[in-house]
């Protein structure tokens, strides 16, 4: 039902069921907020969005208050502005005030509000929170002193990821966001996805930085630093340098990495091609024997961690194929380095990932000696941008550098790994070829594309049809795996990515990106798939060459140590 309301003395039409904020958003009036999250039920916790309504004595939060007919609303009256300013001042009362040294300086919701409300002095002196920074986790750091208790991280962790690793502990002035018995993130069900960082308005949550380790390696003359980058990095890094996502960014990125001092630059998509080969062979074998079906993909370390910690009964179904990042690291350390005449101890492998969980994954995957890592340091896309700026590299004006032909070639299938459904799309193309000897008639699988949290497709392979599903946003997977545990058998492969829409929206990506940039990242990856020639992993000449010269047959025992991970509990 449509009716009129009055906002700042102007009549505006509104619908029943809308909140005041819905109407304000539509007509272009912005009210500040710290806790509101688009697409989530409002909590009204931060009170920043309060407005004055005729006939209601106290101010009401516009994010959760429904509009009613002829409601008279004032959004920026002196009373409202004063209340908002006091709120900011109160939030700042116990704040460390170390903006200059803060990760989120100039990119902070609280700082923005302090500027907006013209806060120019510390009005209230509150008790400083003396809670230790939670540093134990390999991926994420929590500094409760900077927390404003907006609760966004809790909602994302619970509603989108579905693990609820954090919650409000205590109450009143003692409340803080924490873990049970203050044990820290590392011992919790936390899957390190970093989606909490993406919604945190302040510097309370951040990735555990590996910047310094990378800078040290770059300046150490005894080391031979090399780098691999995830296909999502060229799809999104342009946003930080105001360059439209396009094919050229890939070569700009390569040039930037070379300028930073990396001796060799690898595209993780190449390893993703290799992962496709191994995983496809694994599937074909298991499918033939009706063994451990559905196959669950294993490229997402957060998902793998979730299975290990929460659903160990599903471990046998998890693919044993190592993730592309680890495969690339293992290949470099075990093969590429020595064939380039480098001693493996000197090689320092860095990877740039859109992901915080990859830091954890690299930390847990050790070489034969049990100490050295296959990937020595993992930085997020955000950290890479910072290093590029720090080293004075003018990203937009670089001379583009083509990939080296040796290991620089990848198929567009491997390149699709960064999007929910893309891993599956690339995988199915090669499965079809392995099972029938022929290519899929149309390589593009439209059912697996788009922004939905759960996508399903039926793929005809020769005489059989396989059912596949791609799920992103880990909370979406719960119902499906409950069904699988209860004996549902119609799915053959389930791809899971913990972050909504997959790695392009990973916890290591640019903060505050909107849906538009998400779509443009997707488009740039799909465009590459449309335009390039090598669209299946098994036709990538580097992969063919690797299997001919170095590796055993895809999926065979000989590749177990180098390209696979044990899923049995004793060894993990």
């Amino acid at each position: 039902m449509q009716f009129d309301v009055e906002i700042n003395n102007q009549p505006v039409s509104a619908k029943r069921g809308e909140t005041i904020k819905n109407v304000l958003d539509r007509i272009g009036i912005r009210v500040p907020t710290l806790c509101y999250l688009n697409g989530f039920s409002p909590t009204g916790g931060c009170r920043m969005c309060v407005v004055e309504v005729d006939g209601i004595s106290e101010l009401v939060p516009s994010c959760s208050h429904p509009v009613t007919e002829w409601m008279k609303i004032k959004t920026h009256s002196p009373r409202v502005l004063k209340a908002r300013k006091v709120l900011v001042e109160l939030l700042l009362a116990g704040h460390p005030d170390d903006c200059l040294y803060c990760e989120r300086n100039r990119n902070c919701g609280l700082q923005d509000l302090a500027i907006e409300m013209n806060v120019r002095e510390r009005k209230y002196h509150g008790k400083r929170q003396n809670i230790q920074i939670d540093r134990a986790c390999q991926s994420i750091e929590r500094d409760p002193a900077k927390c404003v208790l907006c609760g966004r991280c809790i909602r994302v962790c619970d509603e989108v990821i579905g693990v609820a690793a954090i919650d409000v502990v205590g109450r009143g002035s003692e409340s803080r966001i924490g873990t049970s018995y203050n044990k820290g993130l590392n011992t919790q069900t936390c899957i390190k996805c970093g989606q909490c960082i993406m919604v945190c308005p302040t510097g309370a949550l951040a990735e555990k930085s590996a910047m310094q380790a990378v800078l040290d390696a770059l300046s150490n003359p005894l080391l031979f630093p090399v780098i691999q980058f995830s296909p999502t990095v060229p799809a999104s890094i342009g946003e930080d340098f105001n360059i439209k996502a396009s094919k050229d960014i890939l070569n700009l990125l390569r040039a930037a990495l070379k300028k930073m001092g990396f001796r060799q630059v690898f595209d993780t998509s190449m390893a993703a091609d290799l992962a496709i080969m191994e995983e496809a062979a694994e599937f074909v074998e298991r499918f033939g024997k009706h063994d451990r079906i559905p196959l669950l993909t294993s490229c997402c370390p957060s998902w793998v961690r979730y299975v290990e910690a929460v659903k160990p009964q599903l471990l046998p179904n998890l693919s044993t194929t190592a993730s592309p990042q680890q495969m690339m690291g293992r290949l470099i350390k075990n093969y590429i380095a020595s064939s380039a005449g480098q001693r493996v101890e000197k090689v320092f492998v860095v990877s740039v990932m859109p992901c915080t969980a990859k830091k954890y994954e690299a930390d847990t995957d050790r070489m034969k000696d049990g100490i050295s890592r296959n990937v020595d340091a993992v930085i997020t896309t955000r950290e890479l941008v910072r290093i590029i700026r720090l080293l004075g590299i003018d990203f937009g004006n670089l001379e583009p550098e083509p990939g080296d032909t040796h290991y620089g070639i990848r198929s567009t299938a491997g390149n699709l790994f960064g999007i929910s459904g893309g891993h599956l799309e690339g995988l199915v193309r090669t499965i079809h070829h392995m099972m029938t000897g022929q290519e899929l008639s149309t390589l593009k699988i439209s059912e697996l594309r788009g922004l939905k949290g759960k996508k399903e497709a039926k793929i005809r392979i020769g005489k059989v049809t396989i059912n596949v599903a791609a799920v992103s946003g880990l909370a979406n997977v719960k119902a499906l795996i409950d069904d699988v545990e209860a004996g549902r058998e119609d799915f053959n492969i389930i791809e899971v990515m913990a972050c909504p829409n997959g790695c392009i929206n990973g916890g290591g990506q640019k903060l505050n990106a909107d849906e538009k940039s998400l779509k443009s990242r997707m488009k740039s990856i799909y465009d590459i798939d449309d335009e390039e020639m090598i669209r299946v992993a098994h036709k990538n000449p580097v992969i063919i060459d690797l299997y001919e010269r170095f590796l055993a047959k895809p999926g065979s025992e000989g590749n177990r140590e180098l390209l696979h991970v044990s899923r049995t509990k004793e060894e993990s």
Partner: protein, 155 residues
């Protein structure tokens, strides 16, 4: 707490229903004296609630305790009336005498100290409760005497 006792408590409440959380936690604490993370995890499992949610709810209420209590558990009322009768000073004094900070248990596990919200007997302020025995209109020398005799008893 044995598995049977916990299962016995849980069986009184429907599984997977959040409403049971508080009464279950109360029952568990009455049995065990305090709440451990293993117990909370079991309760969470039964109600299909993540451990952190259970802990979050439990810490909201002053009545729940997360570490073993002392042989003598002392609760001092910090309601308004008791405050006016000087309960803050009493608290400081107790912390000093027992060498234990509020919310904690002494190292020898003999005493634990806790502040309580209003106990609802303001006419008898100030009130101290030791192992569920109420001491009303307590004076400072009296409290010292009580503590002293408890100390002697435990030696």
């Amino acid at each position: 707490m044995t598995k049977e006792i916990l299962e016995n408590i849980l069986s009184k409440y429907p599984a997977n229903k959040k409403d049971g959380l508080l009464p279950i936690l109360q029952d568990v604490q009455n049995q065990q004296g305090y709440l451990t993370d293993e117990l909370l995890a079991q309760v969470g499992k039964y109600l299909n609630l993540p451990l952190n949610k259970v802990y979050g709810v439990a810490t909201f209420y002053d009545q729940f305790i997360f570490h073993p209590q002392g042989q003598y558990h002392i609760r001092i009322c910090r309601g308004t009336a008791c405050h006016l009768f000087g309960s803050a000073t009493y608290l400081d004094e107790l912390e000093k005498q027992l060498k234990v900070e509020v919310g904690n248990t002494s190292k020898d596990r003999k005493f634990s100290l806790e502040v309580s919200n209003c106990m609802g007997a303001c006419e008898s302020a100030p009130i101290v409760n030791i192992n569920d025995v109420f001491y009303t209109h307590v004076t400072e020398p009296e409290l010292s005497r009580i503590i002293h005799s408890l100390k002697e008893k435990t030696e």
